[in-house]
Amino acid sequence: MKDVIICRCEEVSLTDLEDAAKKYNCSARELKLRTRAGMGFCGGRTCRPAVDKVLTSITGEDPTNNIPLKVAPPVRPLSLSDLGGVNHD
């Protein structure tokens, strides 16, 4: 079967995730940082549940009540001119 992309924004495949997990034997968070899965333009909105499932299945970490991969502002990509106040008072 062809490899399946999990994170569309960064084009991270299931194999990429599995290989990285095997190589570094790491936590879900570290795996995300190494592969950039869920860290692309959409902020993980599309792939977050999928990435969570893959990471849980690979690392065996329990899904907890905390959102596994932390959410931080801005939750939408922002242009520097918008952020810098060109349009603000």
């Binding site: 079967m1 399946v4 992309i5 299931l14 959102i67 931080a72 502002p73 939408r76 008072d89």
Partner: protein, 403 residues
């Protein structure tokens, strides 16, 4: 910066009905939504109720919009919120065009679709089932000549019907081929369990679909073992529970899918591959509550399967443990738009209660809470059979937390 009474994030059924309540009591309200039209996901909805009447999301949205506009509600569309900042005694909502300050914030951001990734799903022509719904019913553009729906659940069945109504040609509905992400969506037993449990309350054609499998487990086992080769037809469209889509093929756009037979447990049966020519594919992985803004403002979350995923902890009055932050609609759990609308009413009244000394409002909040439950009990579309248990768990967590 002007200080408003409330900023409502999301102009769907929850946000709009909350705005109507707040404006009725003359609070200063700003409603923000990034879609160019108010109504949220309600806009695309279109299904036949058991009484034969059509639930038309555009009409229902327009009723809410009209009422909000009559009350001179400030609705700002095409504006994206990227942060909600908590200051000492108020909130600042950061958007791409401005900062809006308010004493309270209602987060009614609804749900997002979970993906069921399959090889080839980044090709143009592959879209979420909700995308096809909006394109068909709201924008009135056909998403392709012939397509297939991957993922069989209450949402995808309802939208497949909507595509059919609009004259869009669907080959069939089938499961996604099994992988670690789609396990739950790709297991025929699990899928059938869910379909049977919703069958008793869904619109008429579902009832026929569900009754074919009866309620006994051994009947369902037989049904899966001898599942008809041509699928079971709903509105003349085959629903396949023993066939899965393994790959989506094409170079610059969808040209075909590879379909395989699967066992009742979802394992792929070898040498059953066949190619089906389609130019679009709808992926239906279900919905999950979109809580990112509640997360950045500091709401505690709880994982609750019946509610569809991680939801911000809240009580029946739609209050979160963070003073001045309210939630309503699908962010609190995946349910029908009618429930979201009633929840919005509760949230709006709770905000009025917190900001004014109006004695009659407390009673109204209680009545609105009763209405939410009643609407839930009467819902024709239910996403999870244990919704009441899920709701009770979250309310209990809220009580525990504020003790």
């Amino acid at each position: 910066m002007k200080m408003h009474d409330v900023v409502i994030i999301g102009a769907g059924p929850a946000g709009l009905s909350a705005a109507i309540q707040c404006r009725t009591y003359d609070l200063s309200v700003v409603v923000i939504d990034e879609f160019p039209k108010a109504g949220g996901r309600l806009l695309g909805q279109l299904h036949e109720e058991p009484n034969g009447e059509w639930w038309n999301g555009i009409k229902e949205s327009n009723l809410l919009i009209e009422e909000a506009e009559n009350l001179k509600t400030d609705i700002r569309l095409g504006v994206s919120v990227h942060h909600v900042e908590r200051l000492e005694n108020h909130y600042v909502v950061h958007t791409n065009t401005e900062h809006v300050a308010a004493k309270t914030v209602l987060i009614a951001t609804g749900a997002a679709e979970s993906a069921a990734p399959i090889p080839g799903w980044t090709l143009p022509g592959v879209m979420s089932i909700g995308a096809a719904q909006v394109m068909t019913n709201v924008h009135r553009v056909s998403v392709g000549e012939k397509g297939i729906v991957v993922g069989v659940n209450v949402l995808s069945a309802a939208i497949a019907r909507e595509l059919q109504l609009a004259g869009v040609d669907l080959h069939s509905m089938a499961l996604p081929a099994t992988n670690v992400v789609s396990e739950d969506q790709s297991n025929p037993r699990a899928v059938m369990e869910r379909l049977v449990r919703i069958a008793h309350l869904a619109p008429s054609k579902f009832i026929q679909f569900g009754s074919k499998f009866a309620t006994f487990e051994f009947v369902r086992n037989i049904a899966l073992n001898f599942y008809p080769k041509d699928g079971i037809k709903m509105w003349d469209m085959p629903i396949h529970l023993r066939k899965a889509i393994k790959e989506i093929n094409g170079t610059d756009r969808v040209e075909s899918v590879t379909m395989v037979d699967v066992t009742p447990d979802g394992d792929i049966i070898r040498n059953t591959e066949r190619t089906i020519e389609v130019d679009f594919v709808c992926i239906a992985g279900g919905l999950y509550p979109l809580g990112e803004l509640a997360a950045v403002v500091g709401c505690p979350f709880e994982y609750n399967e019946a509610l569809g995923g991680h939801v911000p902890i809240h009580n029946e009055a739609m209050e979160t443990p963070i003073d001045g932050v309210y939630v309503a609609g699908n962010i609190t759990g995946i349910e029908s738009a009618k429930v979201a609308r009633e929840q919005g009413k509760v949230a709006g009244l709770s905000i009025v209660k917190a900001l004014t000394d109006n004695a009659e409002v407390a009673e109204k909040v209680d009545a609105a809470i009763t209405n939410v439950q009643q609407t839930r009990d009467e819902a024709t579309i239910q996403f999870h059979p244990e919704i009441n248990e899920g709701r009770a768990t979250i309310s209990a967590s809220f009580e525990q937390l504020i003790k």
